[in-house]
């Protein structure tokens, strides 16, 4: 846009130019001249209405015709015009006065009827007809619609539902709101506590009308008793979910071992979403997809953030975590949208199948996206999906939602929201950061502690009380007690050896040095080293310095230079002291904190992340299955004492328990060896009937060895009890015999029994890995012949050579049965 400025030229027009060059300007009009000019322009005759151009031209012509008369005085024109106007006004006024006289004498005003317009009947008739026609069409349309809808309502098996009723049902289940002309809904878990960024908005609209009625008409006209179409009622509601939430998804969880062949295993998700699924299913599926996405994103985030010893691997739609060496947990997000495209299949490596070897932690190198496979039948997948683990993952995320909303409400009402009870009480009770949350700092148990603990244990205190009294942690107390029992309850367990490089200077040397320095505090480290050549010649000077500083605490200081105190400062100090001198204990208790106290506003209680929790659960799951397998294998292998296992019905996701009874068939009343095995995430704890507690790692061999040892001990113990029944006396029983072949694990045990009459002795030797061997010796010796050394006959009463009994050729169902028969045979 351009600015246009109008400027009046400041120059005045030139009237005359004199001979000497001076110019006479026309003077600009004075005020009165200006006023005169303007007033002349006013025409008092007209009444201000717009005059058409023609009339204007006439007026102008008239004006031109009049000769131009110079006015005598400036406003003469104006005066004339005003006078004219006055004349006209007076005339009008007189006229009105005359007319208004009552009774009318000279003039009367009568209205004049205007001529009626011409009547064009025919045109009017046409116009009327047109307007009536338009009104009629509108009414007919409305009536038609009403008729069809009434017909719909009356129909018994109508196939299209009413839009509003369906909308009502939709509103009962989902949150909807109207924005401008559209209805949008929310299918996210935001109101339940989710913090996912996806909005989860879906749109509700009317379904196409075209498809509906024609289909209705088609089926209606065919036959009134035709069967309903297989899809059921068609809905008049259409729901549009966001494209990334279309289809269905689930979280795939599986455990796999390294030794398996890595080949491209593909999972087909045969749960396709058809085009016209009812909206409830569609919305639920979309919500499930959103949930799975959130779960997977949370797990992936944690997998990247955590730093375990073997890092987790996150590739595409797949997370691989190591739970045990060689065993991996695979979590993947399988999402198939309705177009038969399966996205996110966990493909594990491409290329020809082959073993990967033990070096692999790189288990999932395939990317998440793969080309769509047209679904024929579902191909059998190599990896078994663990449904219960998927369920656990879902539950863990639900718990996260729950916690994000479930804050304890404040009591009393003024208390701040969102804090735990303990945190609220921490301020007034003056807890320091050690008391809240209650964590006991790490302490090394000294010999005195050990002695105290054992003394209390001997006095039959509960372990928890011992821990509370001595201040030693409960686990340490348990360990000490266990070691004490292992040592046979004779001597105190020694404190465990410390790790790390042993000290160069012994405690004795340190004592010598400390005595010297205490006597003469101004000794330098060099002087100390010179004074004790024999003790300190093999160490460096800095070693001596370190010993003095760190171990013995001899540090050197010098006084700090400070400015002198002023009189005022001295007074202030005295005042401060006097003020707090009078405070007693109660007043001090009400102090919350003083200078430089540190406390943290953020809660120190950090829960484990989702991934850690699920890894723990998977570890426990795997360990439990492995334990089951070991026990079942042993039970199948050994029939001689039967191994009976009872698993607890109530478990937690990270702890289970099994009771094992080892019993010989037919001799259950004789002896039952009982064990309880607690299965944790990475360890097993076995508690035997005699109180021994053994902790094992996740290797299956350890459990196997334990049970084998228990079996052999059971046999021996049962034999001893059996001997009592049969009247044989127990000569000796050794649980850990030192003679004989070395057992690879555990110890062999032996039992020696003597017959009631005393002439037969049975010796049994049994070990966890060797078979049982039974020997018999009888007295008197059948083969005694006096020789030059042993001359008297009475020596024949010493026992004869041991003869081995061939247990496998003996009759008898099991070991105890055979022993019973043997003892019976030998008694006679």
């Amino acid at each position: 846009m351009a600015d246009i400025r109008l400027e009046v030229p400041a120059e005045n027009s030139v009237l005359e130019v004199l001979y000497d060059g001076t110019e006479l300007y026309q003077q600009p009009p004075t005020m009165s001249e200006n006023l005169t000019q303007l007033a002349r322009k006013i025409d008092f005759a007209t009444d201000g209405e717009e005059v058409t151009t023609e009339e204007k031209k006439e007026e102008e012509e008239e004006e031109e015709k009049q000769p131009f008369q110079q006015p005598h005085w400036p406003l003469e024109e104006v005066r004339n015009k005003v006078r004219q106007a006055l004349t006209e006004m007076s005339v009008l006024h007189d006229l009105l006065v005359i007319v208004k006289q009552k009774p009318p004498q000279y003039m009367v005003l009568d209205p004049v009827h205007a001529e009626p317009p011409e009547q064009k009947n025919y045109i009017q008739f046409l116009a009327l007809k047109k307007s009536l026609q338009s009104a009629a069409t509108i009414l007919l349309n409305g009536a038609e619609r009403l008729r069809t809808s009434q017909a719909e309502m009356g129909r018994p098996n109508r196939t299209v539902q009413d839009f509003h009723i369906e909308l009502l049902r939709l509103r009962q289940n989902w949150r909807l709101k109207k924005v401008a002309k559209t209805i949008i809904g929310d299918l996210s878990y935001r109101s339940a506590g989710s913090m996912f960024r996806h909005t989860g908005i879906f749109e509700v609209s009317k379904a196409d009308e075209g498809a509906g009625p024609s289909a209705v008409v088609g089926t209606g006209s065919a036959s009134p008793i035709s069967p309903l179409p297989s899809r059921g009622l068609q809905s008049s509601l259409r729901v549009t979910v966001p494209t990334e939430l279309m289809g269905s998804a689930y979280i795939f969880v599986c455990i796999k071992k390294d030794e398996e062949d890595i080949c491209s295993a593909q999972l087909n998700n045969c749960d396709f979403v058809a085009g016209d699924t009812p909206w409830q299913q569609k919305l639920e599926k979309a919500q499930n997809v959103l949930f799975c996405k959130e779960l997977f994103s949370q797990l992936a985030r944690e997998a990247v953030k955590l730093t375990p010893s073997i890092p987790h691997l996150v590739v595409g739609n797949q997370i691989t975590a190591t739970i045990f060496p060689g065993i991996h947990l695979l979590v993947g997000l399988c999402h198939s949208d309705g177009k038969n495209n399966v996205r996110g299949k966990p493909t594990t490596g491409q290329g020809p199948p082959g073993t990967c070897g033990p070096t692999s932690n790189m288990v999932g190198s395939g990317s998440g996206v793969s080309t769509g496979t047209v679904g024929g039948g579902p191909t059998p997948s190599k990896y078994k999906h663990e449904h219960d683990l998927e369920h656990s993952l879902h539950q863990l995320l639900h718990r996260v939602y729950h916690h994000s909303f479930q804050h304890p409400l404040p009591h009393p009402v003024y208390a701040p929201m969102g804090m735990s009870k303990r945190r609220r009480a921490a301020g007034p009770e003056g807890m320091d950061k050690n008391q809240w949350p209650s964590e006991i700092s790490r302490r090394v148990a000294t010999r005195d502690d050990i002695a105290a603990v054992i003394a209390l244990y001997k006095a039959n205190h509960v372990l928890r009380e011992i821990s509370a009294q001595t201040g030693v942690a409960l686990q340490v107390v348990q360990n000490l007690v266990k070691r004490f029992c292992d040592l046979g309850e004779d001597e105190l367990p020694a404190p465990l050896l410390k790790s790390g490089r042993p000290k160069l200077l012994s405690p004795r040397t340190l004592k010598v040095i400390s005595r010297q320095v205490r006597a003469n505090p101004s000794l330098t480290a060099r002087e100390v080293k010179e004074r004790n050549p024999r003790l300190l010649s093999h160490v460096s000077l800095s070693c001596v310095q370190q010993a003095l500083h760190n171990d013995l605490g001899f540090k050197s200081f010098h006084a700090r230079r400070k400015p002198l105190m002023t009189k005022r400062q001295k007074e202030n100090r005295v005042k401060f002291c006097k003020k707090y001198e009078v405070w007693d204990l109660e007043t001090w208790r009400s102090v919350l904190w003083s200078d430089e106290a540190t406390f943290s506003m953020i809660s120190l209680m950090k829960d484990q992340t989702l991934l850690e929790q699920i890894i723990r659960q998977v570890q426990h799951n795997f360990l439990r299955l492995r334990t089951m397998y070991v026990i079942d294998q042993l039970a199948a292998e050994f029939k001689d004492p039967l191994i009976v296992s009872h698993w607890n019905a109530f478990n937690s996701p990270t702890q289970s328990c099994v009771k094992i009874n080892i019993v010989t068939q037919g001799y259950d009343t004789v002896l039952r060896t009982k064990l309880v095995i607690h299965i944790f995430e990475r360890t097993l704890k076995c508690i035997c009937r005699d109180g021994k507690i053994m902790t094992m790692s996740f290797e299956p061999q350890e459990l196997r060895n334990l049970i084998l040892c228990q079996i052999s001990q059971h046999n021996m113990a049962a034999l001893q009890v059996l001997a009592k029944y049969t009247g044989w006396t127990l000569l000796s029983s050794e649980q850990n015999i030192g003679t004989g072949a070395i057992e690879p694990l555990g110890n062999a045990s032996t039992v020696m029994l003597a017959s009631p009459s005393g002439n037969k002795v049975i010796g049994v030797h049994s070990g966890p890995h060797q078979r049982v061997s039974v020997y018999v010796s009888s007295s008197p010796r059948p083969d005694f012949y006096p020789s030059t050394v042993v001359m008297e006959q009475r020596w024949e009463h010493l026992g004869s050579n041991w003869q081995e009994v061939r247990l496998d050729r003996m009759e008898g169902r099991n070991f105890l049965n055979k022993m019973e028969l043997l003892m019976a045979a030998l008694t006679a």
Binding site: P412, V413, E429, D595
Partner: protein, 225 residues
């Protein structure tokens, strides 16, 4: 050589927190009342609007004692300065193990806010706070019991309660109701800089519109205490 090390002490951190406006010391409040006969309807509506709609709302039973701290010997000067400082001590009768709460509320801010905005300081204290206040020179002004429901929606605390006068005798069981209605309060704590939460408060209040009229009360119009 000693380097000048600046060790912050607790007072400085508190001052800087207050200056940087991290500590939430402003409270937005909306109050309204509802007759006892309409209480179940309001409770149902609020349950639908607030968090955790699936569990029944939590009840509370508090005992509040209000102290006034001023110079009782000086002549009464008109205006707010002469009224002294009102300190409220509240304890939860149904949770005796939890600490007492000491609260100071200031005068409402002048301005066009959607709710009453006032300075508010809540401090958890130990149980000997009453003696402490009396030692300071505060006199007990009045006390009452409040029993009702408490719910929350995000940061907004919603309480519906009935106030009871403590009847004759010192036993706390002798409660008389003061009115035939329940008081509905919506409050949220915020800092001086974060004023957006008032909109949420107003929206929640509007949801309750025909049942309860929640509005900004002008305390000056209610008359001198």
């Amino acid at each position: 050589m000693a380097l000048p090390v600046n060790i912050p002490h607790a007072g400085e951190t508190i001052e800087s927190a207050l200056k940087n406006q991290i500590v939430p010391d402003q409270e937005f409040l909306l109050q309204g009342s509802v007759l006892d006969t309409s209480l179940p309807v309001v409770i149902d509506r609020l349950r639908g609007l607030c968090d955790n709609a699936d569990i029944p709302p939590e009840t509370f039973h508090d005992h509040e004692v209000v102290y006034i701290l001023k110079d009782f010997n000086a002549p009464a000067t008109p205006g707010p300065a002469g009224q002294g400082v009102m300190l409220r001590v509240r304890r939860a009768v149904d949770h005796p193990e939890l600490p007492y709460q000491l609260r100071y509320v200031g005068y409402p801010e002048i301005g066009n806010y959607p709710a009453v905005l006032r300075n508010c300081l809540d401090v958890p204290v130990s149980s000997n706070v009453c003696e402490f206040l009396q030692e300071l020179g505060a006199k007990l002004d009045h006390e009452f019991m409040a029993k009702g429901y408490i719910m929350k929606k995000g940061r907004i605390k919603v309480t519906i309660f009935k106030m009871y006068k403590i009847g004759a005798g010192m036993s706390k069981d002798n409660l008389e109701a003061m009115t035939m209605s329940h008081l509905v309060e919506l409050s949220v704590l915020t800092t001086k800089t974060d004023m957006t939460v008032a909109e949420d408060l107003r929206n929640l209040a509007d949801q309750l519109k025909p049942l309860v009229q929640l509005e900004r009360l002008d305390y000056r119009r209610l008359g001198p205490p």
